[in-house]
């Protein structure tokens, strides 16, 4: 599988991860990711059809508590840590284009 990892795959994954790579980084990451995934290919040959996956070391059930109001961090303190805040909200650049 991993030997097939292409430059285009790396570019696509970088876009999904919101990262920009230089051409040199694309080549480097292609080689390095292929090497790591090559080890992962060892796992592919194991007979695991009847094995259940484990996403977490302990069986977890929903953890519930009484629905009571309790103090949390003040909004102004949270917003003070943001790169941009306006009118009690986080500020971000434009998300959609201007209306025509």
């Amino acid at each position: 599988m991993s030997a097939d990892l292409t430059r285009d795959d790396v570019i696509k994954v970088a876009a999904l991860a919101r990262l920009r790579l230089t051409d040199a980084e694309v080549d480097l990451f292609r080689d390095q990711l292929a090497a790591v995934l090559g080890h992962a290919d060892d796992l592919a040959s194991l007979g695991t059809d009847k094995v259940a996956p484990t996403a977490h070391p302990f069986a977890l059930a929903n953890v519930l508590r009484e629905d009571v109001i309790r103090p949390s961090v003040d909004r102004d303190i949270v917003l003070a840590a943001a790169p941009d805040a306006q009118d009690g909200r986080f500020g971000v650049p434009r998300i959609v284009g201007e209306a025509p």
């Binding site: 599988m1 990892l5 795959d9 790396v10 994954v13 970088a14 999904l16 991860a17 919101r18 990262l19 920009r20 790579l21 980084e25 990451f29 390095q32 990711l33 090497a35 790591v36 995934l37 080890h39 992962a40 060892d42 796992l43 592919a44 194991l46 695991t48 094995v51 259940a52 996956p53 484990t54 996403a55 977490h56 070391p57 302990f58 977890l60 953890v63 508590r65 961090v73 303190i77 949270v78 840590a81 943001a82 790169p83 941009d84 986080f90 971000v92 650049p93 434009r94 998300i95």
Partner: protein, 473 residues
Amino acid sequence: MRSAREIAQSVRGGASAREAVEAAVAAVAARNEELNVFLHVDAATALAEADAIDARVAAGEDPGILAGVPVAIKDNICQTGVPTTCSSKILEGWRPPYNATVIERLRAAGAIPFGKTNLDEFAMGSSTENSAYGPTRNPLDPSRVPGGSSGGSAAAVAANMTPLSLGSDTGGSIRQPAALCGLVGVKPTYGLVSRYGLIAFASSLDQIGPFAHSVTDAALLLEAISGHDPLDSTSLPEPAPSLVAHLNDGVAGKRVAWVRELVDGADESVVASVEKARNVLRDAGATIVELSIPELRLGLSAYYLIAPAEASSNLARYDGVRFGQRVDGEDVTAMMEATRTAGFGAEVKRRIMLGTYALSAGYFDAYYGQALKVRTLMIEAFSRAYGEADMLLGATTPSVAFEFGSKTKDPMSMYLSDVFTIPTNLAGDAAISVPVGTGEAGLPIGVQLLGPGRSEASLFAAARVLEKAEGRS
């Protein structure tokens, strides 16, 4: 430097906590520039906390089992108002608005959080060379790495700056640097210590734990920070276990397994240390059995799919919107890309890419899904092993501390540093690394004891047997 136990005993008896903090401040002033251990120390606040402890003792109160003990904190653990970077540029200047539960627990035990220590960026690495703020040097040989990712926390104790420190262990990030710096390091059972306020790397694997010079000091610190926390939904339900009371229980009647896969590929000197540990435990009354657990060989491959997959999801939050650095862009996507591209270092990008790929459409089943099944196989194999033995014995790392730059070119060679430690994280179990013997250039070697979940008390007792045989406290 005095042990944590000695400091706490003397402070509870009326000696000055300020003196213990002043000693830490002086030790940091003497060597931090050379070793790059602490990213942030606020001596004035630490001294003020010490004075408050002294005042409480003077008023007849008992501040707790760690009264007046300065504890270094890995810089991926949140402390209110104190810069917390994860050694990443993306969090530069950020000050958390809340305390991690472990910080609250330290203070409740009378300890004094003392400064933030360097790490591999977001705890991704095995040498502390991946820090955006420069590498930490091994206090025992500054031409070598201290291990990682909790390299700063290990170095703080090894350089006698603080008697104790906290690290986090996702695949070996406490045990491996403990081994390389000649310390005791513990990866507690998953859920024993609250992760609330530990900045997430791989949530199903991360666990906070102690570094110390002695098993006793490590037990004191772990007792202070563990126990159920309603703020962490993965926290175990029970209160903190009693560890210090069982330190001298010994190993008589215990079955200890020599596990081939936990020494295969290690340097000769490392294998010799594990053999020495086996003989010490046998002489102390343990029964030695030999086991082979072939599934352990699959751990590294499974880990390097599972941990990056979880990391790629956890690190999606660093998008320049709510905290940390922002690099402007013409629209929100461009801003996020510019922020993440400038803010993350190469190893973090590599792991995010790896995880994103393993989770992406068309590859999910083959990579991430298969790794989760292998995780099941490993848990079942451990479970069978613990039917035949009470604990497993092996190496912590394949070699002693290595030189700077020797593994940075080839990520796989660095990843192999954690081959013996990773399986415990995948299983959610407990393990302790304790120094036994020395290798190349007189550098320390760590021997690892692994046990099932909640087996800390017997692991500490066995580690204490090894420590005594080494002539340490």
